[in-house]
């Protein structure tokens, strides 16, 4: 569906006022000035006034760039924003646009972005070249469009059925078709089989963030890496849900490999007084999923598991990503033989 933003009423009034002011202040005096030299002088006066006024006021807005070139770009963006019918400056908070930029088919021309501390914005130009916009007030060059946004803060999501949602209980009253469908999708996320071919459905609670103690350069590289991964799959826009999905899928992948070597009886019996097999599997998942390229894994058993998995691409390349997986619940379908 195609949609385009409509200029607000106040904006139309503002444009009329500016037009009237321009006629009164700029055009009209030229008709009543006696000589050309006076007209030139008046024009010069207007230009000086506009320039110095912008320079004066812009300096009091702290997030505007401080360099001269930055001030000039800001003034240019400000002036252009007056004459454009659509908004050209957007605020990005928690990895989200303050309007439906990604939904709009004919993307509005962007002037500048104000990006908050936790957000990452990746823009792409006509030539397909990408760049990462860091937090703060950032100008968007001609021909550039926002490709991806995401939040680097803390996130939490459930993967698999909800904690109290028994996937094998098919007789739940008051569920509509939509809810039944969603339930089935959640079960499908984590459903797998043990060595003795018994269906098992875990519910995971997953936390992650990108706040590992990495430098700015590493964070930029990782952001581009994330963008490249999703761009290759033709996924654009806000990436949070996609990142959740990717992490969840990798957790399921590791879980499946671990469970293939496990009987249900082993799951139900303690292998150690304090540490059950499930806890050991959970430890393995957490270690494997946080293993990075060139990282060191001291546990040889876990390293072996990791090698069997091949790679947990692309998470192993995202150096600043920190994941913590908890097992909320576990349901087993069949009776133990």
């Amino acid at each position: 569906m195609e949609s385009s933003p409509q200029p607000s009423k106040s904006r139309i009034v503002q444009n009329y006022l500016i037009f009237a002011l321009a006629i009164i202040l700029i055009i009209f005096p030229f008709y009543i000035l006696k000589s050309i030299s006076s007209a030139v002088l008046f024009l010069f006066l207007i230009l000086i006034s506009v320039g110095s006024s912008f320079f004066f006021w812009v300096n009091f807005v702290p997030f505007f760039p401080e360099s001269i070139s930055g001030v000039i770009s800001t003034i240019q963006t400000l002036i252009l924003s007056i004459f454009r019918s659509t908004k050209s400056i957007y605020h990005i908070q928690a990895g989200k646009f303050d309007n439906d930029y990604f939904v709009i088919q004919n993307k509005p021309k962007l002037g500048a972005l104000l990006i908050d501390e936790n957000s990452v914005v990746i823009v792409i130009n006509n030539g397909g070249k990408k760049r990462v916009c860091s937090p703060g007030y950032q100008f968007i060059n001609t021909g550039e469009q926002v490709l991806h946004t995401f939040d680097m803060g803390f996130h939490h999501f459930y993967w698999g059925p909800l904690e109290t949602e028994n996937p094998f209980n098919n007789h739940i009253p008051d569920l509509n078709l939509n809810q039944i469908h969603l339930r089935a999708l959640r079960v499908a996320q984590t459903k797998c089989q043990t060595k003795d071919e018994i269906s098992v459905v875990p519910s995971f609670s997953i936390f992650y963030d990108f706040s590992s103690l990495a430098g700015k350069k590493q964070l930029e590289e990782m952001s581009l890496n994330i963008s490249n991964h999703f761009f290759a799959s033709n996924i654009n826009g806000e990436l949070q849900i996609e990142i959740n999905k990717l992490i969840g899928e990798r957790v399921t992948k590791i879980w499946k490999v671990l469970l293939k070597k496990t009987n249900v009886k082993q799951i139900l019996s303690p292998t150690d007084q304090n540490l059950s097999l499930m806890n050991m599997h959970l430890l393995s998942i957490n270690t494997i999923i946080n293993t990075k390229i060139a990282g060191d894994t001291s546990d040889s058993h876990i390293l072996k598991e990791f090698n069997k998995l091949g790679n947990i691409k692309p998470l192993e390349q995202w150096g600043a990503l920190n994941i913590r997986v908890f097992l909320n619940n576990l349901w087993i379908q069949q009776e133990v033989p």
Partner: protein, 400 residues
């Protein structure tokens, strides 16, 4: 001096010209008025821009009859002639129009900040017209007001009156550093001057530094279920780095700031879930701390193997909600409890861990759990100045 202002600037001349504080604002106002008067006088005296209508304007003013009226006529002709007025007023109107334009621009960027607020903000920065006071009280995060939204996006200059129980984080827009501000004297409402270029990153009332973990369920290898009604946690900070007369300010890392900001908003749930899961995990791996295994007869060591041989039963912490399939197959297991010789395994007992008899166990549990949570918070959230302590453990119910 406000510690936020201590950062070194790279552009001294420009910074001195546009420095934002009360005396500088007044001085700027006086200078601009003086400049305007000088400019008006130059335009009036030099008659640099005569207009076509000036001659008609002259005809409107009567010829002078004495010396005083002659001077008045001359002043009016020079200072209030249409050409002088146009040349003088035009820059002034442009100056004010540009201000209006920028305030509209800021309003469009932060729609939650009112247009009036953005105009006042610019006037206050440039000429220190009015001293803005803001009040931060408990629960301010629940109902964000326009004023506070304004401080969040545009920042100071402003005076912030905050209740002693509140703590807030300010961020410098230029160097992106964070400061944690709290009151030094509990009981007094403090006044903090928020500088230009500093924004309120987060407000964390005392109540938000407390976290309750409710209904923790764990199960040990003897099938005993333990419900811990409540664990009360409190976040606190390391000793301050800098103490001024009224408030304490600490430099904190971006990780600390992010973590604290999450405590103050809806995202608080993330930290709550994390602590809940970590606590559950810890208790499952350390059940002996709660069950005090000394109370179990040594014969149980031989018995529990038998029980497990009879029928494997859910043992993992998360099996409390196991599927009906499991329950069906475990009927035999349930039955064995009916005639069990090991009655101590199924008796229901309720006790408070704070009772005198269990004081040592309680202390041990608190210390171990606190250490575990601090370790996990540090490893996952990378926090450095924030710590957690357990201030209360509620009733523990053991159901055998």
């Amino acid at each position: 001096m406000n510690p936020v202002n201590q950062q070194k600037k790279k552009n001294p001349i420009k910074d001195q010209l546009f420095i934002v504080n009360k005396p500088a604002g007044k001085l700027r106002l006086i200078l601009i008025m003086l400049l305007f008067l000088i400019y008006w006088t130059i335009v009036a005296q030099t008659k640099i821009a005569p207009l076509a209508i000036t001659e008609n304007f002259l005809a409107l003013i009567p010829t002078p009859t004495n010396f005083t009226s002659g001077i008045l006529r001359d002043i009016i002709l020079r200072y209030f002639s249409p050409s002088t007025i146009i040349f003088t007023v035009t820059p002034l109107i442009i100056f004010l129009s540009v201000k209006k334009m920028i305030s509209r621009y800021l309003h469009s960027l932060f729609p939650s900040t009112g247009l009036k607020e953005t105009e006042q903000y610019l006037s206050n920065c440039a000429f220190s017209f009015c001293n803005r006071d803001f009040h931060i009280h408990e629960g301010v995060h629940i109902e964000p007001q326009i004023n506070q939204e304004h401080l969040k996006f545009l920042g100071g200059p402003a005076n912030i009156n905050f209740s002693p129980s509140s703590t807030f984080i300010i961020q410098n827009i230029n160097n992106r550093g964070f400061l944690l501000i709290s009151s030094n004297y509990p009981g007094n409402t403090e006044n903090f001057p928020l500088s230009h270029g500093d924004i309120i990153y987060a407000v964390i009332p005392k109540s938000n530094r407390q976290m309750l973990l409710k209904n923790l369920k764990i199960q040990d290898k003897y099938q005993r279920t333990t419900n811990i009604n409540l664990i009360n946690l409190l976040f606190f900070f390391n000793k301050s780095q800098k103490i001024s007369a009224a408030f304490i300010s600490r430099k904190i890392s971006v990780h600390d700031a992010r973590f604290l900001s999450y405590l103050g908003y809806a995202s608080r749930n993330i930290i709550h879930h994390f602590l809940h899961d970590e606590t559950q995990n810890f208790l499952n791996n350390n059940t002996s701390m709660i069950f005090n295994d000394k109370s179990i007869p040594s014969s149980i060591n031989h018995v529990h193997e038998k029980i497990l041989d009879i029928a494997p039963k859910k043992l993992h912490k998360n099996y409390a909600e196991t599927a009906p399939a499991i329950i069906d197959k475990s009927r035999g297991v349930n039955r064995k409890h009916k005639h069990s010789r090991y009655t101590f395994l199924k008796k229901i007992s309720v006790f408070s861990i704070n009772a005198k008899d269990d004081e040592d166990d309680c202390k041990h549990l608190i210390i171990e759990l606190s250490n575990h949570l601090n370790e996990q918070l540090k490893s996952f959230f990378h926090i450095s100045t924030i710590h957690i302590s357990i201030i209360e453990i509620g009733k523990i119910t053991i159901n055998g």
